[in-house]
Symmetry: C2
Subunit: 528 residues, 2 copies
Amino acid sequence: MGKKDGGGKTNYTLKVPKGTKDWDGSDMVIREKIFSTITNVFKRHGAVTIDTPVFELKEILSGKYGEDSKLIYDLADQGGELCSLRYDLTVPFARWLAMNSSIQNIKRYHIAKVYRRDQPAMTKGRMREFYQCDFDIAGQYDAMIPDAEILRITCEIFNELGWDGKYTIKINHRKILDGIFKVCGVPDDKIRTISSAVDKLDKSPWTEVRREMTEDKGLDPAVADKIGEYVVRKGGRDLLESLQADATLTANDSAKQGLADMELLFNYLEIFSVFKHVSFDMSLARGLDYYTGVIYEVITEASAPQAAQQLSSSASATNSKPAKTPKASKQVNGDDDRSNDPSVGVGSIAAGGRYDELVGMFSGRAVPCVGISFGVERIFSITKARIEAEKSAKLRTTDTDVYIMAMGGTGLLKERMEITKRLWDVGVKAEFLWKVKPKFDKQFQAAERGGVPWSILLGDEELKNGQCKIKELGLPEGHPEKNGVLVELANLEKEVLGRVNKPSGNADGVESVIKALESSNMAAAPQS
Amino acid sequence: MGKKDGGGKTNYTLKVPKGTKDWDGSDMVIREKIFSTITNVFKRHGAVTIDTPVFELKEILSGKYGEDSKLIYDLADQGGELCSLRYDLTVPFARWLAMNSSIQNIKRYHIAKVYRRDQPAMTKGRMREFYQCDFDIAGQYDAMIPDAEILRITCEIFNELGWDGKYTIKINHRKILDGIFKVCGVPDDKIRTISSAVDKLDKSPWTEVRREMTEDKGLDPAVADKIGEYVVRKGGRDLLESLQADATLTANDSAKQGLADMELLFNYLEIFSVFKHVSFDMSLARGLDYYTGVIYEVITEASAPQAAQQLSSSASATNSKPAKTPKASKQVNGDDDRSNDPSVGVGSIAAGGRYDELVGMFSGRAVPCVGISFGVERIFSITKARIEAEKSAKLRTTDTDVYIMAMGGTGLLKERMEITKRLWDVGVKAEFLWKVKPKFDKQFQAAERGGVPWSILLGDEELKNGQCKIKELGLPEGHPEKNGVLVELANLEKEVLGRVNKPSGNADGVESVIKALESSNMAAAPQS
């Protein structure tokens, strides 16, 4: 309860809970635009959305997140079932698939908030409540075709956000990694923990990762050195061919199958014009246990890891040039650059992979899945920073087309209401000032603050003649229509619609921000 | 933790928590369409959206909900701040306004889930997690103008959902009610509790309400009878005029001001073409304490309370005909018809009013507010039932325009991928079957299941000639284009765009459901 002051009034702690925030103003506009860009791409690929409860039975989440389970938010035990806030969108999806056994296959997306009781670092964008944006394909299909479509979707999204040429998809395959660990001599029971160590190569130099393998995890140093020769390699088809020519490696069934998958995938990615964005990166291992096939992570220039340089200078066996990796960013603090989402690695803006066995953890039924999670909070931060840096046009927070104003002292409230009502009737987005006798200045300022492009000016004289003025706001001095154009009131709807030319009737009304994003190199969909 | 069976496999309780549900399939399509219809109207009126955290500090919610506070979900105390899941969207909005003192005025909407640890009744639509959809106007304006716009928005929404002529807005004013209670002789300290009793007139007969007032709440029976003569009245301007002619009532300042407000409001509602949907209903009192002015509740034919009849037959002083009340529904169980949302009364689909003092509870700053909350779960249920009853066209869950298929045995995977990629490049929503050599039947069935309107048929012969077929699916036998139309591959994008004629690039892609809703009398926006 809040404290009481002398007068008996309750003083509240006026804040949101630690690690959460309100979304409003232009932040909300940018976020909505990002969501609608992403959603459009998902729908272009035939996806549907499902929505699960924000909390799940506690036991559904148990045993899915390893050490991070301590970060799960529980609801208080107020009697009845024990529940926890969802930690991600993947486990609820798997639970949904297990419950709906009639679903043989689905492409689903889900954009929603998830909850982690982590130490928040607001300035670094690490929150306790944050958005995830997941796209997953479930179902039994021929090898690597859905996997290729996921990466195509990824490229469409980043291209349509205006990042073409500024991002790289790092890609690897769990079966290749596992094969490497086997042929290098890693004992079976150490494979997952050694894999986790490899995954740190994007933020730590090889020497540190090698130390962790040998000192912390008890791996034979000779084995670690063998692993080191593999995992520092990156490239494209050259790397694939070199691995395929490695008889030791291809003698391992797992590696052989992974390499065959990769060849198929590369072929499909070529067809989809996606291969140019890809870097086959053998240091990519991904933290989560449940991946079983191809894994990937998207990094952008703004988040390129400093570790890349350290890695390539401390290793020897890079027999392929790093293809199309974005320019390394200026020296950044590794921690500064950590995503708020532990499932997305350092500096990455999207990540995912194939997980064929997770649904089986909930039911006997095996449903192969492949998916990706977009780090929308991070995409938001980068987009916002770019817009601010480029000082692009002020973002409008509303879509209002027309502001209806009275000239002169009588206020003309009834007439303003009538005109506005006629425009609403035909779907025009219209506002007027809710005062009986508003000053002209106040009306003009309200329109200007909202960035409204058009105004209708009502005056006693004009109304007597059955006319009013339509005026485009913001015209330069000297423009022939600077003072507005007289039109017949009887034709008003037609006159206005002809000008704003955007009948509403659609959920995405943030045309203004599209323009702003376009002007700051955040191109809209190619077809529009 | 789940139980272990003999094999060591964990058996999970595969369910969602009590009182929650997954949204998927056509339910999701209907819900999204309702949300986008509502959102479009809000934006037409210059509204912005804000998004607050799903949980708030526990003390923020304390003391706002009276007895219902016991229904608040708390988060477990895992160290740090004590938090609770939000109970509605109004208190978080007031908290946001109090925190953002630079905001002088705003029209904001918020569509989000709220949480109440109520006894769920799934069949009756009473859930523990459910959506609210709120629209509020904050700021100092001239009397009744924003209030009138709220009701105009309400009518636009229900008209665009296709319910024109099937709903009634019951309207009353707290100041009139309070004036009545005073002139009838209710002691000051009983005004709120007597008001609560009056509010039950939509589900209980007057005799029962009178009994509650006198027996449970200790009101003088003579006072109760005087109240009874007022609160059973309903009508339009006739009722207003009769109250304005009541010298006893107008001697009370509160009543006088309320009546002046109502006259102003009625004038504005006439201008906005909204008055015809309104019934001035003196039995409407609304449960929540914080209302200070006009209050309203929208009821629809499908939820008309049986109590209306009981009321009018047990009362005497109805000197005005009930104007335009929807036909009473067949006898329904009152409880069956209870909204899942206690802030929305029995049988109502939206409700709200003016609350000028709530923000002041959080900060010294007074911010007058007026708002409405739409019962989206109830609107969803009624919409779904209507669609099902009218057996309208099966709702599509995806928006895919074109399915790309191979004829013949080679599968033509590469060609299908290339063609699909070209269509994605121009924004066409396109799919193909993720099999190397799919049977023609399987491809056709997949397209049919998704209700895809167009297909592209690839065959070896046609490809050799640089051609393919475009075929509209579902054409009747004998139609000249039943077997498709040969087109040049070089012109494919143009040929397809000319047919589907809907470049994507917009968040609202549920064109299919619009059509279905139109065909079931759920008209789309008038302008579209």
